[in-house]
Amino acid sequence: MDAGLIFYGSAIFLMVMGVFIAITGRHLIKILLGIDVFDTGLNLLIVSFGYINGGTAPIFSKYPNIFKNVVDPVPQALVLTAIVIGVAEMAMGLAIVMQIKEKFGTCNIAKLKELKW
């Protein structure tokens, strides 16, 4: 089995699972985790886009022929940023959830129905 396919498959599996958790979950934290799982899947997907089977690290060197088999560094850099951003998002989300628990006395999203129609 191709290594790329495993990466892609598991990444997409993670994304679908994340969305599934977010849609079906009742608990706010669970939903946040779902979103996080989705993000993780996405990050994995991005990294696997840049991955080349048997490639080396993208480091400048004297030997130009090594360049041919180098893993694309940009997606990895992007993913790093994306992870940081994901963390920030998660922090903001958890902060809001804390406040919600304080004010609503519940973490059940079905009870969050102040705003509708």
């Binding site: 999203i109 509708k116 129609w117």
Partner: protein, 603 residues
């Protein structure tokens, strides 16, 4: 430049009036100076053919203004009525914003008259609607908000229809100017014409579009109604002229049936509104329907589309401005003293307010079209024009409408001025100067133009002659159509002579003694002095039986059904936002899936 300056004068006066709002005297003086200055400036400086381009450009339209003889005709009506309204309104308790709004509505109306292209026409038309809406909103009636709401909705309906028509026209002719579209192929020109006519039908409250008018006329401040009904509705008449002559010059050849329909709508409006008018128990509502009815004649005049029917329509528009304003002004004066519009609560005021009585008397005589007042020449011309166009049913309908005018006129004058004086009105005085001034000023054209219609017919003829083959011979006092002939002063002189004669007979014989009010024949019933014997309410109540069920039919029910459908759609749209965030997320996923499915073939 002159027109732009005039608009500037009006606008700045309004702004000043607003700023000086709290200082009443100064504000009044400023607004008076502005209005008089505007009128004088208009009369002396504005001439047909002047044009001015504003430095605003959208698309390929330079916004600009131009001037025609017709604009001058309507401009003088507007400014004159505005002055009358202004002087009377000083007696009311108004704030600066009220004056600003009224000046701005005047500005809008004048702008409409000056506009040369359809988009600036729309701009000024909306300005006028907007500020008159705000004034109606400021009215002190219980239901003024409801009326204002209806007013703005109907105005907007008309305005948007106009806008659609404008853009259709621009799309097909590539010109925003008010130019002829009758050379266009297909039926699109018909749609454009109807769309362009809509706002004017709304403004003149033609029948399916009249629902706003009774409310707006009733609930705006009394003095402003004078301007609203007499002045601003003239913009609708102006619009008819523009739409039927300048925009669609070949209508009589291409769509004669449309003109016929238009004339019949006008006649039906005149009749039905007349009937509604004499069923009202509120003086202003009665006058509102009367106003609608009178403007129906104007539509008939345009629908008949012959030289002197259009002359009649324009003359009647002027007449309507004079007598309808007079009636509204008198009612405003009466309200100022009695604080009521309810016909059931007034009566016998003739002894207390003689000048108002005289104003109302001649107002209703003109409304009914009885010679020698301003109401007669136009009606006479209209009848003959319709007969010349071979439509006997139309002329019958119009005649029926003019009979209803007698009915509501008498109800109005009787319930306010005749009959028994109410006890609480025993110490009432004549209406104050502002109202009296307006009444006296309006009585002058009422008679002068009634006996010498040539003064106005000449300029009107000069306007209309350009578009339609003239078949009316006239001079200052006479008018001759292919059917008949009238010498207007002869009628007046005869009536005056005979009145003198009858009066002499009356004077010669016997002496009269003034009897007390309750000193009446009562078939031996003894009545108390305070017993209300005034027959004011349910005045034509028996007519309800005569009309039966059709009287309860209303366009409003159809409208309400439409609104129900729209609100049902609204409920459905609202249901989409159901409040559960997980569902929102699901929407996104679903959307993604659907799009990928649709586009799947191309991926």
């Amino acid at each position: 430049m002159a027109m732009f300056l005039l608009l500037l004068i009006i606008g700045l006066t309004g702004l000043l009036a607003f700023i000086l709002g709290p200082i009443k005297v100064l504000r009044n003086i400023i607004s008076l100076i502005g209005a008089i200055g505007g009128l004088l400036y208009f009369v002396f400086k504005i001439r047909p053919g002047q044009a001015y381009a504003l430095n605003i450009k959208i698309y390929n339209v330079h916004f600009g203004t131009g001037m025609s003889a017709l604009s001058i005709f309507f401009g003088i009506i507007l400014l004159g009525l505005f002055l009358i309204f202004l002087i009377a309104s000083f007696h009311e308790d108004n704030d600066g914003a009220y004056y600003m709004f009224s000046f701005f509505s005047l500005l809008g109306a004048l702008g409409v008259l000056f506009a040369k292209d359809l988009i600036s026409f729309f701009f000024f038309f909306e300005t006028m609607s907007l500020f008159s809406f705000l004034i109606v909103l400021k009215g002190n009636g219980e239901t003024s908000h409801r009326s204002a709401f209806k007013y703005v909705m109907w105005s907007a309906f008309g305005a948007y229809a106009f806008l659609l028509g404008t853009f259709l026209k621009v799309n097909y002719t590539h010109s925003v100017m008010i130019t002829d579209i009758s050379y266009l192929g297909g039926n699109i020109k018909l749609w454009i014409l109807i769309l362009l006519l809509t706002p004017f039908m709304v403004k003149t409250a033609l029948m399916p579009f009249h629902l706003w008018a009774p409310g707006a006329y009733t609930d705006s401040k009394d003095t402003y109604t004078v301007f609203l009904s007499g002045g601003l509705s003239k913009i609708g008449v102006f619009g008819y002229f523009i739409a039927l002559f300048n925009v669609f010059s070949q209508i009589a050849v291409l769509y004669p049936w449309l003109l016929k329909v238009f004339a019949y709508i006008g006649a039906i409006t005149a009749s039905l509104a007349g009937i509604y008018a004499f069923m009202q128990d509120d003086a202003k509502k009665l006058l509102a329907y009367s106003s609608i009815s009178q403007l129906g004649y104007v539509a008939v005049g345009f629908g008949v589309y012959s030289h002197f029917s259009v002359v009649a329509a324009l003359f009647h528009a002027l007449g309507h401005a004079v007598f309808e304003s007079l009636l509204f002004l008198v009612v405003a004066g009466v309200y100022y003293r009695t604080k009521t519009h309810d016909l059931r609560k007034m009566g016998g005021l003739i002894k207390k307010m003689p000048l108002s009585f005289i104003g109302l008397l001649f107002g209703i005589i003109a409304t009914s079209g009885i010679p020698p007042t301003i109401g007669f020449p136009s009606k006479w011309l209209l009848y003959e024009a319709i007969i010349l166009k071979n439509d006997l049913f139309l002329v019958s309908l119009v005649f029926f409408a003019s009979i209803t005018a007698f009915l509501y006129s008498y109800k109005l004058i009787h319930s306010i001025f005749l009959g028994k004086l109410h006890k609480e009105h025993e110490h009432i005085k004549e209406a104050p100067f502002g109202y009296g001034f307006g009444i006296v000023v309006l009585l002058i054209p009422l008679f002068v133009l009634g006996t010498n219609p040539g003064i106005v017919v000449k300029p009107i003829d000069y306007i209309v002659r350009f578009y339609l083959k003239p078949d009316l011979a006239y001079n200052l006092t006479n008018m001759t159509t292919p059917l008949g002939h009238v010498n207007f002063p002869a009628i007046g002189i005869t009536m005056t002579l005979l009145f003198t004669l009858s009066f002499i007979i009356y004077l010669i014989f016997g002496k009269s003694y003034r009897a007390a009010q309750e000193d009446n024949y009562t078939a031996t019933e003894w009545i108390d002095k305070d017993f209300g014997l005034h027959y004011g309410g349910e005045f034509y109540g028996f007519m309800r039986k005569a009309f039966g069920k059709p009287l309860t039919w209303s366009f409003e029910k159809i409208l309400n059904a439409c609104l129900k459908v729209v609100s049902f759609l609204g409920e459905i749209a609202r249901g989409f936002y159901m409040g559960d965030a997980r569902v929102y997320l699901f929407y996104i996923i679903l959307f993604f899936a659907i799009i990928v499915y649709i586009m799947g073939g191309k991926l």
